[in-house]
Structure formats: C-alpha cells, structure tokens
Symmetry: C2
Subunit: 299 residues, 2 copies
Amino acid sequence: MDLQQLRYVVEVADTSSFTKAAARCFVTQSALSHQIAALEREIGTRLFVRSSRAVRLSEAGSAFLGHARAALRAAEQAKEDAAAADGIVTGTLRIGVIPTLTAIDLPAVLVAYRDAHPDVRVELRVGNSDDLMAQLRLGSLDVALLGLRHDLKPVGVATRALSTDRLVAVLPRWHELAGSGTISLRDLAGLTFADFPASTSGRLQSDTAFASASIERDVAFEADSASMILGLVAAGLAVTLLAPGTVARSGADVVTAELRDGPVRVELLAWDVDAPRNVAKAFLSVVAAAGPGEVSAAS
Amino acid sequence: MDLQQLRYVVEVADTSSFTKAAARCFVTQSALSHQIAALEREIGTRLFVRSSRAVRLSEAGSAFLGHARAALRAAEQAKEDAAAADGIVTGTLRIGVIPTLTAIDLPAVLVAYRDAHPDVRVELRVGNSDDLMAQLRLGSLDVALLGLRHDLKPVGVATRALSTDRLVAVLPRWHELAGSGTISLRDLAGLTFADFPASTSGRLQSDTAFASASIERDVAFEADSASMILGLVAAGLAVTLLAPGTVARSGADVVTAELRDGPVRVELLAWDVDAPRNVAKAFLSVVAAAGPGEVSAAS
DNA sequence: CGCGTACATGAGTCCAACGCATAGTTGTCA
DNA sequence: TGACAACTATGCGTTGGACTCATGTACGCG
C-alpha cells in the first residue's frame, strides 16, 4: 500500500471516472488502472464496480474510502505540523470569497499573508455566500469571506465581523429620486427591481426588508453578479439595493440614495472551528492585523 | 511522502536508533538513512536530532510522529474494513496471555479462530497480568487473557470472565499436611513459601489473603514462572498457593490441598472497548462460542 | 453495424529505493 | 592517548516497480 494509491482511490471516488481521476493526478489512465488493480489485489477485494459507462464504489470501497481520506489528511497534517514546529506555515490555504466583498482589500491581505508565509499555496474560490458556507462546513474550504443579513448567525463555524453596512438604493442617474437625500423603502414601492436570484442569501437581504415593511415589489430582472445588476440599473431598466462599497468600487454610472430603513448587511470572515488548520490560523492573524472586526464563537 | 517513510519514522522514534529500526523494517541502515533524509528534505525540517550516540525526536519530529501513526493506522484500517465488507477478517491480532492460563484451551481456540479467519496473522505475547493490562490500555495489544483477584475490576477495558477458582495449597509429596483434606490458610502459618515477585498481581492474590487473615508468612523464594515455583515446591524447599488447573497441567510432582479460605482468582478475557478492531471482535466471538463466560462492561 | 467512450492489459522505459562499501563522528577502554 | 567499537551519512552501482505507449475489450448510441 502506498499513499499515492490512496490518492488515486479518492480521486476516482470523487470523479466516478478513471479517466478524469487520471487527468487530475497528472498521470495516464493506464497508470491509474494499474495502481488501482494492484491495490485491489493486495487487499483482496474490488474497491470499484466497473460498468463500462460509469464507475461506482463497491461496498468494500465505501468502507475503504473514509480511512483513505483520513490517512491522506494525517500525512498532510504531519508535514504541516512538523514545519509549524519550526515556525513555518506550509500547505494550501483554500479561501472562499464573494465577488462583492468590500470590507477588506483581499489582494492587500494576501500580499501581507504571502509576505509572512511564503511557503503557503493559496487557492481562491469565488462563489455566493450560501455555497461558500456549505463548502466551509464540508471542509473543502479553510476560510470564507462572505456577506449575510446582520441578524443571521451562521451555525457550525466561527466568524469575525469585518464590516456592517446599511444597503443603499441604487438608481439610474436621471431617476426622479436621485438627489432627494435619505429616503425609505416605501419610496421605492412600485418601481421595477433587479436583484440576485431568488432564495440566494444576497437576494434574501432585500426580500426580507421589503417583506417586513409589507411592501410588494416587482423583481423583473435576476442576475448572479453585482456588476450585471448595476448594468441593468445604469441602463434605466430597474433599481436595486446594494452595499455602498459595492457600488463605489464598480464605477457604474448610477446614483445612490441612503435608506433610513434599508437592510443591514454584515461581511464576515468565517472558518471551521473544529479543525482550524495552521494555514487558516495564520490567515486569521493577518486579517486581524489588517483590519478591525469582532470575533464571534461558533454556535 | 510515502507510507514507507512514515513507517521508518515511527520505527526510528520507537527504537531511538536508525540501525535497530532498519533491522525491524528488514532493510539496511543506509536505505533507512536515505529515506529519512529524503523526507526531511521534503518537509524542510529535521525530524530527528542525531548525536552520534543516540537519536531523539526533534520538536518538529514530535509534531510529526502522532500524525504519522494516525496515517499508518488509517491505511491499515482501510485495508481491514474493505476486506470486512466482504465478510473477510484480515490483519494481525495481538493476543496477550499469562503463562498460567487454565480457563480455556488457547491452542484449541486458536484452531477455531484460524479456521474461521485464515487471513489473520496472530501475535502471541506471554506476560504477567499487569504488563498485559498496561499494553492493552496503550493499544499495543488487542485482547488479553489474564488472571486477577476476583474483587479487582480492571478499568478502561471491557472484560469477560472465563473461570473463577479458589487457589489451593501446593505441598511437597511427603509434607505432613498432604492428604489432610480441606485446610485453611492458618494451617500454613510458619511454613516457607515460594511465590511470584513482590507487587505483581499474581503475588497480590496470596499476599492479600494472608494479610486479611492477619497471618505473617515467609516468602523465601520468588520466581516469575509457575513451573519454577512448582519445582521449588517439589524439591521440598517451600509451599505455595496456585490455581488448581495450573498445578494439574504442570505435571509437577506435588500434592494439593483445598483451602476453605483461599483467595479466589478470576481468569478473564479483556479487550479495548474504545477501538475494538475487526480481528478482536472476531476473537471475542470465537471465545464466546468455545466456552462460557460473563461479559462485563468497561468501568 | 460502425463509431465513440471508457476501462483493462501487455510491453518497454526509466527513475528511485535499495544494498554495498566506506567515510565521518563520538564515546569507551586499555 | 591511541585503538576500538558503535552509529549515522554518503557515493555509487543495481534493480524492481511505477509510468507511458499501444492495443484490446466492453458497452451505449445513432
């Protein structure tokens, strides 16, 4: 048995394909077939059921997989902790980040991080807050930078609040409400809206605010990126609610109006509280040094 | 990184010697040196501090070692569980046994076990009950067959009582008490005793019995094997207390006398309740099928 | 029934782990 | 103090096994 063989098994299980797994491992399909076959010979059982169109784990394979992952994790952890004993942080840090993040300057943070820990490889994954939270809980992300309604406390993870902002109304330049100072949600009643797709956490922020003010609104346009939504607003097709920082950084040709009863959104740094890896702990320190924020225990 | 390298690290850590570790791994010392050096190069840290006369773990090595063991254990477990999914028990069963065991016929049990699970390698280690318990708790034994005073409940392990016996007095053939039927401890006062070494659990059985009967006795001979003690008795140098089965199986030229107030000794099967491995569970079944006994939960 | 896709298998290549020999270091003893 | 013993490090040649390439086989699909 060999760690390499365990990696192969995990990849095949994850991709349900020898060919795809081989590509991910940067070897040919035949090399991977050979190794899996050798492993199966050694343990005396088929780990995968091959059916020419798909590959799936056998019962024995299912029993094997968990331990294989554990072995690989332990080996990785061994390496990281040994280096950590010498004060060196190594490994791969997997960061999830929402595209609209404004609370911190992530590139600047990464400069500081890389400066302090040059041996760490960084994987950045952009996604929406819901997906990132799910990946964090699954352990496929180490830390995540995301945005939530201020009254939602994520469960199963520890968090540090990075910023708290009240959303602003975003209007076309020539809109009648432009320049009328602070307004309220009710002033927007009857207008056409662009917003994030239904039942995403980005959308939920606005939906909840309008619902609790008992205002029906017409979301005629849905898009999954803030810049797309801002484009729609600039074109005069709709209005929307967004964090002021998001609008400012986009450079979109729109105007904003403060909302006295707009929803409050918190951007926060979240991490797995159960198994914080060295790379993640180091990232937390760098963020803590870079900006303010308030730590909150996992719930 | 490679599982083989992890095995090397563990062995070197356990033996504090490259040479001894190499011998245990059935490779030359140079092969092991090469591999450790390669691993240290990969993780960028020295795992061992070499001081020409002794090898000890560095701080990084200590951090590494635990994870290395975990990785090896997980890999082993992966193999065993995969086979178990096909109803096959594999791996190595480590049994500890006291030399005086009489409650079960261990060879017969092993015949049945080997018959049911031919793929299991069996390691037998003979030792005294105290050492076996310690090894069991450390996880370096899977099951142990040992003897204890009936009123001592071992902690941290689950047990199954196999037999309960009252010790008998063992006397030279020509002794005046020979043939006098059931006697009491007090009849033995003033005689010269042979027994197990002080503060072993074997010795404790008799010591406690005499102490609670307020009888001083003279243990002039100490030996760590029952056959040696019986030899001393047969030679007329001393008397002793032993389990009747031990005496019967030894074939020693001695006579026994039942003791109405002799200490009661329990032989039992003990196993680690936290992580019972497949091989151990299978052994428990075989013992359960072979003989009677009463299971007791861990305390 | 040919075509495409995917896994298995045989043959050949090449690297890396191994063994051998030896050097270097340190503690021990006459 | 010098010879020795015990131990690890290292250079070098050898070989087993992991890999690639080429091909075989099985299956679904139009």
